[in-house]
């Protein structure tokens, strides 16, 4: 068996965290719909919100919006705000129309937004009522992806947590892997777990509602994503037992993740080594190529998805980078402990954001690479900083062995591009004569 580090102490586990409030430059939880609807093939996500919500979704979804996506916004109008009873009737009518047009839908999610939360539109009750009305064909659930409650990937957490109470009860001793992963990645993990000899592996979310996993006192679950705190708690309430592990990023992360499962299911070290040896070798070789570019470079993370801590761990340990600040929108101590234990001691951690203050720290630190959102990336490039836009890390397959090289490459590419264009990393755009877009010259 591979050597497992102690995962609940050391590194940054007990380190104080800089907590900030102020302007957050982040997405709201509604954005999660964009990958969740690809994963859950018979689900429809109906946001109850404003024109802003619809505009956000189309801005974030890009060209996906033209592919008849299984999401839409029921835009609240003046009349809906006047009387709330009205809003429930309106919702019933819109849902009935929607389901008549899309008979293939089996799960309908009513997704709350800031406006619907502020006017206290009771979507939970609406979901119950609509489930009755459309049973047994369609099941209606509700969760909130509002910005006042959720940041970006927390939308997936809210969605999965809302699904947990309705999962069928079962007594089999299954392994439940939690977190929506691209199909190709999920299939790789399935093969590895099958090769390890784990008899029953289920997934939350499942690709279709008829494949919903069973949960019971013999269920052990493991997270594949760090942002699933509420889902974690909801599964514990159903009697399932969590397996603590670092997130499966990079060769080391994947191995430790698999090893935690192997330990729990009493799988022998020789067998474990036999199954993992070849893919580990491949992953190490792939990461090594990107490491030539990344080694010794300093990296700064703005808060975005909660993936920042495991990614900083991967980049520090497997690519020899130096994290100068790791910002996260929310830090769940218990879930991130195994990753925190492996982050170099003394790495500054921050939770929440005051974007202007954080930008001040960034400029003072002048890192080689900044991981940030699209609202900041080009302005920072123009200041002479090199950036890696963070959203790509959520949409692109980056988990497990076969993607380890791709993951490292995502960080190496901006640096290699700077070199290819003969741009010195610290010359501001204005000094290069870059014009201000939109201004007549």
């Amino acid at each position: 068996m591979t050597e497992m580090p102690h995962i609940n102490s050391g590194g940054c586990v007990d380190q104080p965290i800089l907590r900030e409030r102020g302007q957050h430059e982040v997405f709201c939880g509604l954005t999660s719909i964009i990958w969740l609807h690809r994963k859950m093939q018979d689900a429809f996500f109906l946001v109850v919100g404003s024109r802003t919500c619809a505009h956000l979704l189309q801005s974030a979804a890009g060209v996906m919006i033209f592919a008849e996506p299984r999401f839409a916004t029921a835009i609240l109008e003046e009349t809906d705000l006047a009387g709330l009873a009205d809003a429930q009737d309106e919702l019933d009518r819109e849902v009935a129309r929607l389901l008549a047009r899309r008979p293939d839908i089996r799960q309908l999610f009513l997704v709350g937004s800031c406006p619907s939360e502020v006017i206290k539109l009771d979507l939970a009750r609406a979901a119950e009522r609509l489930t009755e009305a459309h049973a047994p064909h369609v099941r209606v659930l509700s969760w909130s992806g509002s910005g006042i409650e959720t940041t970006f990937t927390e939308g997936e957490d809210a969605c999965l947590a809302a699904m947990v109470p309705g999962l069928p009860r079962g007594d089999s001793s299954n392994l439940l892997v939690v977190g929506a992963l691209p199909d190709v990645v999920e299939d790789q993990a399935r093969r590895l777990l099958a090769d390890l000899g784990i008899a029953q592996v289920d997934w939350l979310p499942a690709r279709r509602s008829d494949a919903a996993p069973q949960v019971g006192p013999n269920t052990r679950f493991i997270l594949s994503q760090p942002f699933l705190g509420d889902t974690y708690a909801a599964l514990e309430r159903r009697g399932a037992r969590p397996i603590a592990a670092p997130m499966p990023f990079g060769e080391e992360g994947t191995t430790a993740w698999l090893a935690s499962i192997a330990q729990e299911f009493d799988i022998g070290p020789e067998h474990f080594a036999r199954v993992t040896e070849a893919p580990r070798e491949r992953a190490r070789a792939a990461v090594a190529r990107a490491t030539e570019t990344l080694a010794g470079k300093r990296i700064f993370f703005f808060p975005d998805s909660q993936l920042e801590i495991p990614l900083a761990r991967f980049l520090a340990r497997e690519c020899a980078m130096e994290p100068v600040e790791v910002g996260s929108p929310f830090i769940h101590r218990q879930i991130t402990a195994p990753d925190l234990a492996l982050v170099p001691e003394g790495t500054p951690l921050s939770e929440g954001q005051d974007v202007d203050l954080q930008l001040d720290r960034l400029r003072a630190a002048a890192p080689d690479l900044t991981v940030c959102g699209l609202g900041l990336a080009n302005p920072l490039e123009a200041e002479g900083l090199t950036t890696k836009w963070a959203i790509e890390l959520v949409f692109t397959p980056v988990h497990f062995y076969e993607q380890a090289g791709d993951l490292a490459e995502l960080f190496a590419r901006p640096l290699r591009r700077k070199a290819a264009l003969h741009l010195s990393p610290n010359t501001p755009g204005s000094a290069r004569g870059w014009p201000l877009a939109g201004q007549p010259s």
Partner: protein, 515 residues
Amino acid sequence: MKLSVWTYEGPPHVGAIRVATGMRGVHLVLHAPQGDTYADLLFTMIERRNHRPPVTYTTFQARDLGADTADLFRRSCTDAVERFQPQALMVGASCTAELIQDDPAGMAETMGFDIPVIPLELPSYQRKENFGADEAFYQITRALARPMERSDAPSCNILGPTGLGFRHRDDVAEIAALLADMGVEVNVTAPMGASPEEIAELGRAHFNVLLYPETAESAARWCEKELGQPWTRTVPIGVGATRDFISEVQALLPGAKVPSEARLRLPWYSASVDSTYLTGKRVFLFGDATHVMAMARVARDEIGFEVAGLGCYNREFARPVRALAKEYGIEALITDDYLEVEARIRDLAPELILGTQMERHIGKRLGIPCAVISAPVHVQDFPARYSPVMGFEGANVLFDTLVHPLVMGLEEHLLTMFRDDFEFHDAAGPSHHGGQAVARVETGEGPAPRAPRGISGKMKEDEVLWLDAAEAELKKIPFFVRGKARRNTESFAMERGLGEISVDTLYEAKAYYAR
């Protein structure tokens, strides 16, 4: 409630951000929840701006709801003024803050800043992005502009260009150059590029050039009333409109010179024999009212297309669009529901669509070529190269833009001649549409293309049956006119109460519709 997947316009506060981002020296504080900062990326990515939009969002969260949010707003204003030191502060609320009723305007006015504070009223549940931009610019103008002595030299202001405007950058350059040729100086261009100090100087100009009625008509009207400045009614898109615009300017300033047309190429290109095949090509236009109305004239009178249909998504301009459509003998489509636009396009089966990025995708789906003439647009329509749509160079750009998506004349001729050739068979599709060449299935017909299904589920059932022979004959008609042929034959058959379409029906219809 209204179910929506795609929206042509964002909420009104995005319009306000477009104004603030276009300007210099102003800062906008938006009372808005966490997440509304997504709007920043429209500017940094689509328009590729190299600085952050000058907007501070209060980013309130659930735990702040209650008295705390008002505090948060005051703090955000103080911090923004201290950090960015703007010459003027704009304040407004996004849709959620509108519901919690903190009154940003009232709060900011009582905070005692020594710079002008401009409150914006942005009714998110009734109005949209263009209204927000128009309102923001109107309020800025009202707050800052004052009557003053006219400049000695003849001068005008250019009103309307904003951040995230379709080709605003180059239109401004082109029209400023045109005015310079006429001996007219540009006093202030606003909101894009203007500072509050410059807005205060608006009154120095002799008249206003209103380039984009959607974003600046209210301000132009205010300037007319309060500063005594007339404004131009013609939007100079296309050759005819540009000449009319020049006449309008000369009427306002009798001494203005006639600008040179030396670099204008559209009229000759359009007159040259290679363009003959463009005659009577049926186009459908959709977008914002200003661009649609101007492009309709270009399409019909300058390129020789037939305008088969037109419409706009901004209801504020429904009346002039309807009136124009009537002149063209068609009915205008005023809607912000893209499914209605798609249905209309399918019914009309035009040979070319001029629209927004949504129409580009509709065109792709229906196999109809399309050129983009209006916002909303994606990153590719904020080009690096100089590409105005206004003035004489704009006319040149338009000729290329409107003609390129069509199969070139010679290419069309050859395709028709060799339509049964193995390389030019139907399934291969037009080479420049990115379609993969598909080997022809020699054993009869391939599977019929499935009509895409909109979420509205409005499938158009054929009431008339195509007999196999007629269907096969229809397939021999080149794909780019087949939609029109199918539609014409069906309406021909329906008008005569025929239940079936035979080869004869097909040719009778062809003869009937021939001109």
